[in-house]
Symmetry: C2
Subunit: 375 residues, 2 copies
């Protein structure tokens, strides 16, 4: 039985383990956040991520391969592990995905369109960047932040000071605002032999910077767009020599797809694949990192994933819906926290919208779903 | 988070846990066989099933409700637990299902057809039973045996002595041989409020007494047969005041359905429901025993479960089949042992047969599938 080490111990690790037990894999988690919630397998925790911690050595020695569910972990930790055991994806993927400036440079180098940007590290630099790019702009930290954290939209020049101080005076990336019709994402998985499989594009709807709805296959995607997205994902995953799942977030604009950012891991916009594809993103990640053949990534029918955020809502009523698949993460309620998700499938997008709205009506604070935007 | 105690710690407990974590359930297993293989949750073991064992008290105190994955466990253990915590299904279901004579009496009382039988406890009684029932007969122990163990088919009167000594001289049940066209099973689940849901009939193909293939919905079932099977399952589960899953095995004969035996638990012939139904037998069992609403039991499309017996076979090649869902139980190979199963779905039975045969060709020792018998 192969033993899998996972850096991070949240819901992504939990869903990896649930997908991996049927493949006779066993799981060891190493948490650096201090709040492991995985509730499965063997868990060690060290918030200092001290490389001399004997628990770390035990973790490394106990497993056949190490992966991560979370890219915001110390790069040195990943590099240290990589010297002693196999790390998939490698620390290079982590390095690039942790730093928006490196990520942008990679997009540029591969000719993948991305919003115009400047990297700045002074308030003056911010003002100059805004003048060059034009308003509005989105300001983000280069090295941290997810789910909309560490971001600021500047709509008027005088907001530069506020943005600079709110985010906290460090190296920032300033991006031209993209007038997009919708947000899409695409998930690819690559095996050690460079075999690559790609899931269909998902359409993502956010609220307050947090993903709320993800639908796959994204409705109304023409062949050219689908093919373009697949090709971007494949180029990136191949270039990074990345083994496992890689997620690329995209904006759909009138001029075509524009890359937003990527994540070197299973992704919230791929949770639909547990019920919606023959082989889920979690199973495929494990297949990839353990040298097993990749599984089928085709969507069986229109599927939507609805996040449960902040409050669990009326779970009893959710379970009464014959089409709702409920996944809870065993986490305490807290505003903005991802506590679980619900997956719904249907034979048509019309029926899917109806079902998703029924689910959303049972989740307090869920923004209206309202169907799909017309590109 | 509710804590579930399971008596037994094999693959059924494992699949219960995998279905239960997304409902925020946690699992404690109490094994009396000495060979726990569950590989998940908290496991205690006591082959003597000593009621004074402090681990047993700890197990009982740790959980909110106790269930069992296995009916061949000491009745006193179940009754002891029932005095101290909630046991679902109750010890009454266990008592009836452990004893073929009691099971038969219940079938008789509810007017559910079952093969003619005699209960005997001497070799002379066996000969008399054979004379009354006519040859061939099937001789079984009343209180033990599963997967064809502890059974003997008598085709000639002079085999009575051999049968008596082979099985081991105890209370036996002698059944008239049933000329059946195929073996079916039906799985029902009942909630504490007497709400009952029933899965579609499955067609089961055995080899050497071990289930090899299970297809649901069973092909070519007329409405009357389906309705008859549902009504038998509902009568039994209601009569037993049974909370959780109950499985009824049936013979299809020219004169209609005949009850073979039942199991007070999730069943191998229901594994197809993990992929094949919106709510699997495992999830529905957990929903029932924790007071959650029952889930949808409808089959989405023709589904076949293929058991992996004795040897694991060519798992790499199995994983290459885009339509094969592989479930391994983390057990060592041993002749006749259930090591895992593969689930296959298709849009038609013709396509299903082709896919199942592809899977079977990768499993050493698998009997030919050959499609479905014509009733």
């Amino acid at each position: 039985m192969k033993k899998i080490g996972i850096l991070g111990a949240g819901q992504l690790g939990r869903m990896l383990a649930l997908a991996g037990y049927p493949l006779e894999l066993d799981f060891f988690f190493y948490d650096t956040t201090g709040t492991p919630s995985v509730g499965l397998g063997n868990v060690s925790s060290d918030t200092s991520a001290n490389l001399e911690n004997p628990d770390l050595q035990t973790f490394i020695d106990s497993v056949d391969v190490v992966s991560y569910e979370f890219e915001h972990l110390p790069l040195q930790l990943a590099q240290h592990i990589e010297q002693k055991n196999t790390l998939h994806p490698s620390s290079r993927s982590l390095d690039v995905c942790q730093d928006r400036a490196k990520e942008k440079a990679l997009f540029d180098r591969l000719g993948i369109p991305t919003p115009s940007y400047r990297v700045i590290d002074t308030e003056q630099g911010l003002i100059k960047a805004v003048e060059e790019l034009g308003l509005p702009v989105v300001v983000k930290t280069t090295t941290e932040g997810y789910d909309g954290k560490g971001q600021f939209v500047i709509r008027q020049l005088e907001q530069c000071q506020e943005a600079w101080h709110t985010i906290g005076s460090r190296t920032l990336i300033v991006e031209a605002f993209v007038n997009f019709t919708r947000e899409l994402s695409i998930i690819a998985v690559r095996a050690t032999d460079d075999n690559i499989e790609v899931y269909p594009l998902a359409e993502n709807q956010h609220n307050d910077g947090i993903l709320r709805y993800s639908t796959a296959p994204a409705p109304r995607v023409d062949d050219e767009t689908a093919s373009q997205a697949r090709s971007y994902a494949k180029e990136l995953i191949h270039e990074l020599d990345h083994v496992g799942i890689l997620t690329l977030e995209l904006f759909e604009t009138e001029k075509g797809l524009v890359a937003n950012e990527m994540a070197p891991r299973v992704h919230n916009s791929g949770h639909w694949s547990i019920e919606g594809a023959p082989c889920s993103q979690f199973e495929n990640h494990l297949r990839a990192i353990t040298g097993l053949p990749l599984g089928c990534t085709q969507a069986s029918r229109p599927t939507c994933m609805i996040n449960i955020i902040g409050e669990k809502g009326d779970i009893q009523s959710l379970l009464e819906l014959p089409y709702a698949h409920v996944h809870l993460y065993a986490k305490e309620e807290r505003p903005g926290r991802k506590l679980g998700h619900v997956t719904v499938q249907a034979d048509s997008y019309e029926e899917l919208v109806w079902r998703v709205n029924n689910v959303a009506s049972l989740l307090p604070g869920s923004p209206e779903f309202g169907g799909y935007s017309t590109p």
